[in-house]
Each structure stands twice: as C-alpha cells, then as structure tokens.
Symmetry: C2
Subunit: 313 residues, 2 copies
DNA sequence: AAGGTCAATGCAACCGTTTGCTTTAAGGAG
DNA sequence: CTCCTTAAAGCAAACGGTTGCATTGACCTT
C-alpha cells in the first residue's frame, strides 16, 4: 500500500540498505547515487515509517507531555512551545491530561514510558519518590517541581513572590498577607517560604471560588497588600472583597500569579507575576534531547497593572 | 533490555504466539493458560511495544490532532476532550500546532499521515480541495468546517447566532448589527447567513483589537443589539464603546460567541453563545474510530449574563 | 473402533528499517 | 604487476510483535 524503502530501491536500482543510508547516514553513500535515491523517493512520495525505524533503533522520535489539566489556561502556552520546539527537532509530542488525578498520572507514565524517548511531567501530583521510581523506565524532565536526582525546569515563583511583595512594600503597604493555594502544592510552599513573616491565609482552592471564600478572612486581617497563589484566586478575592464593600486597589492591593488573562479582560486589570511558560516548554525539550544539561531555573517577571496602588493612609 | 513477549513466553512455558493471543485475541486461548500468561506478564512488567505492533498490524493506535493555535483558549477544552476520549479507547494523541500557517498545516498533515490512524483537523486554514487531496493518505475528520466528501463535526454556530438574535429581539431590540470576523472565515460566513437582514460591520480581526476598532462603526450605526464574531471581539467592542461613553448593556447590548471566559472575570459578564467543544472533541474521535458515521452537527447554547438587557426606549 | 470436529497451541513468515559484516572494484604503493 | 587500502554497495539478521496455517489431542458420532 504505502511507499516503502523497497519501492524506492527498486525504482533506483540499488539495494534497500543504500536507500536507508541515503537518509540516515548520507556520508556513506556516493553523492550521485544519493541524489538518484532522493529524487526517486521524492517522486514516489516516500516517507520513512517511524514505527519500523523505532523498532530497530529503539528510538521512537516521540515525546510525552503530561499535564494536570490541558484546559487550565496556564498550560497551553507551555504545550505550544514544547510541541513547536520538539517538532523543529523532528519529534512528535503526545499530550496527555491526568485530570489532576495522581493515579491517572502514574498509569499514564507507565503506558507512555515504552513508547516515547522522554517525558515532560508538568506540575506533577505524584509524590517525589514515586516519580523517581518511574523515571527508571524513561528519561524524564519535571517542570514546576524540584525532584532530587532528576533534571527539572523551574519557574522561579519564589523570586516572583519576592518581587510582588517588594512592589507592595514600595507602595507603602505595611500589613501584607499571602493567600495561599491548596495543601500539598509545592508551588504554594515555595511562595510561602519567600513570603517569610507575612501572615498566611488558607489553604484555599486554587480557583476563583477559593478567592471568593478567602475574602472575609482577608478583610478581617486588616492587610492592605495581598499576594495570591494565582490569578484565579486573585480575581475571586477581588470579587469577594467587592461584595464586602472593599475596593481594589483603593483599599486593598492585590497581586496574582501566572498572568493567564489577556490584559484587558477584567476590571481592575490584574497586577501579576508572569511565568516564563514558553521558555519552560523549550527548556524541558532541550533537556530531554540532551541539548542542555542540569536543572534550569527561569526568572519570572512582575507585571504591574491596575489592581495595586498606593497604600491607604 | 525491555521485557518482550518472548520473556513472558519463556516464563510461562508457552509459545510467543500464545502470549500474543492472550492479549489481542483472548478467546482463542484457554482461560487457564491465559491467566498464567497474564500473571507472568504482570509480574515481569510487560507492556506491548506499540511500534512493533504497528509494524505488523498497520495500526499505530495513535491519532493526530491539528489546531491552528494551541494557546487560543477555544481549543484546549476540545483537545482535552478528544485526548481523554481517545485514551479511553487506548489511543494516544499527537497534538500539533500550525501557528495559523496553511503551509505548516500541509506539511504537518503529510508528516503525520503515515504515523497515525487518523487525523482531526480543527478550523483548517487550508483550502477545501487541498484538504480533500491530503485526505487520501489518512482518515480524516474536519472540525469547524464542512468539506464535501469528508466526515466533519460542526458546532452549529448558525443556530447559535439565530438564538442570540432571537434573544436580542425578545428584549425589544429593533436595530441590530453583526460585527463579523475576518475575511475568509467560514464560521463568520455561517453567522452572517444566519443573521439575514442584519447590517454587517467589518471584516474585523478576531481579536480584542478588532472589537475596539469596530466600536466607532457600531456606535454610528445606531444599533442597540450587537452580535459579535467571538468573545474577544465582543470584549474589545465593550471596551471601545466605553471609551465613547456608550454603556453596555444600558445603551447597547452585546453578545459574544465561544464562551472562552470563566464567567466572573469580566465586567459586565458576557452574554455569549457557548460552543460544545467537549462534545465536538469526542465526536471527532468517534468518527475516526468508526464508532459513529456521517457528519455531526452539534447544537450550541446561549448563555445569558450581563452584557445584554432591555432595549433602551 | 474409525472417522470427524474442534479447541488449544505451535510454527514460521512477515511488517519496514537499520546496521554489522561481506563483497566488489577501483586506486595507490612498492 | 601484485598487494593493500578504501569507498561504495550488497547481504542478511535482527527489532517485537501478529497471524494464517499446521499439528496435536480430546471428545463426539455412528
């Protein structure tokens, strides 16, 4: 049915191995011959069969990318960057979604392990030791978590948190608060550590609802400068504060994290810590492909918009 | 290195073919034998090698999913649904991004064609006849476009547009307008056809900028009920109208399409036509896997929020 | 008791490429 | 002119499964 290496060999009058080498080891074949082979291949529309190639070489030229939730707006830019970068190296990318379920994550890793040359695991929900164990089966890069013994790519949220707090202090805020994320979130712990001495409110769901629910506690705390676990929480919080008659940024300044919203969509536009998702996607691929080694820590950036302002006097 | 079917055969004391059949044709092997095989396989951690299987059967158990832009918030829910549904049938999904470039789309299709059992092509940028030609190489499902001779999945945006206009008319609006999308957009044409007799404004970029740019024309038109090509345009329009001193919904009611925004993020919350992206993703997979036949047209739903209200008197 | 059926399993070819080894022939050294 | 080296190409064995066909018994039938 499909055009194989044999068809090309027949058309050119050479042996299949010569055709094979014309593609995968060009220096081993006479330039003139190679040109004839390539011309015939092109003319017949030959495309090497990746499955067959994978069988002999053991390399599939595929990567796996596992995220907790594809629809979470934080991930698509990362997926896009990773996919595009991988493709430029002739790799295809399987994208899989665990639905935030650690068991699904594990099963997925097991299934994928033998079918790909490497896996990018984003914001894993699995415990560290489990990850390390699974990493025996296949090269691994972890994004958004530091795992001993594995290469990882980190977006430096601690530094981002520090930036945000500095920004708030610079605006004269003296009473700060950190509205944290869910229990067990590695990122939330990082931020908390960076916000040393700042009162913590929560744990909270990493959603708008979580932010709304935290509004009362924030208002009661008397804080005027608030850092939130992520943008969704920040938006919920602003919403909840509004319901309590607290204005943002006049009464309270709020900073989010992730920059998942196109700037103009919301009122007030959110001051937030932008994550280098594109760079992270590319770095993860580079790590898998061996173009880079060792862990990567990428800087975040504070984007000041309208949800932060001078502290009220 | 890896555990193969032969290892399992040796461990069980049967021939490889029996092991193979224990997995792919269980009814052909004695239940007792099969149990022993399965137990040994499980114990050894055997996972069938998909590349090898693909080589003999010609089925890769992979699907390709091609979208114009992964980061466009319209797509991730569809990707998620398709991926999840495919996985429940033991298929893996390559996700690829064309960056809105028809040439990239074509090359991608060519490359992917031989490596997958089917391709889902979302909102293609390629011309119809090109698509039909490429479809000779691999089963194909087109989402968001009607292509003669190919199975397609459509989200019935025409019906959604009708719903929206009906809603506006029901609120007493007599002067309507349709803020259309870019030239050449199939979807935009569908909506325009559904909005027969309604003045058209544009073409416009399918972005917030496009909406902002259209504000003046909308205000000048005297329309009080406006249907927009998508949510981004609607948001831009609201923004642009605000700058002109026109209030939404007090002076003008605005309806978007896509429902890409979590409900509460924006003010006013947008009335919009929600697209059945999940269903579309699943349907596309079903079509490829033969679980369903013929074209699928999925209903859309109007979600009334705060950007529409009674016509001003 | 002989012949037939059928379930269960074994056998071996095949899928499309890669790759270590062998063969061929041409060119250079002595 | 013979021998050696080497570039180029051919040969054939993998890779890990699947599957049509052959073999083997056990169980029926009559």
């Amino acid at each position: 049915m499909a055009v194989t290496i044999r068809d090309v060999a027949r058309a050119t009058g050479v042996h299949v191995s010569t055709v094979s080498r014309s593609f995968s080891a060009p220096h081993l074949v006479n330039p003139a011959t190679r040109d004839r082979v390539l011309a015939a291949a092109d003319q017949l529309g030959y495309r090497p069969n990746r499955a067959a190639r994978a069988l002999t070489t053991g390399r599939t030229m595929n990567l796996g990318l596992i995220v907790a939730d594809i629809a979470n707006p934080f991930f698509p830019p990362l997926i896009k960057a990773a996919q595009s970068h991988a493709r430029s190296h002739d790799y295809h990318v399987f994208v899989a979604d665990t639905d935030e379920d650690p068991r699904a994550e594990e099963e997925l890793l097991r299934t994928l392990a033998k079918q790909v040359d490497g896996v990018i695991l984003c914001s894993p929900r699995l415990a560290n030791d489990q990850i390390v164990r699974l990493a025996e089966d296949v090269p691994f890069v972890v994004v958004n978590r530091q795992v001993e013994g594995l290469p990882w790519v980190l977006m430096d949220v601690a530094q981002g948190a520090a930036l945000a707090l500095e920004h708030l202090r610079g605006l004269g805020h003296r009473r700060l608060a950190y509205v944290r994320g869910p229990a067990g979130s590695w990122t939330s712990e990082e931020m908390r550590a960076a916000a040393e001495g700042v009162p913590v409110i929560g744990p909270n769901q990493p959603t708008e609802q979580g932010g709304i629910a935290a509004a009362r506690a924030v208002a009661d705390s008397g804080a005027t400068g608030v850092l939130c676990y992520n943008d969704l929480v920040a938006l919920g919080l602003i919403e909840g504060l509004a319901d309590l008659g607290v204005r943002v940024p006049a009464d309270v300044s709020v900073v989010g994290v992730d920059d998942i919203l196109p700037g103009r969509l919301n009122r007030p536009k959110l001051t937030t810590v932008a994550m280098p998702t594109d760079a992270a996607g590319r770095a993860a691929v580079d790590l898998l492909l061996g173009a880079e080694t060792g862990p990567v820590k990428l800087p975040t950036a504070l984007i000041v918009r309208e949800s932060t302002g001078e502290a009220p006097r």
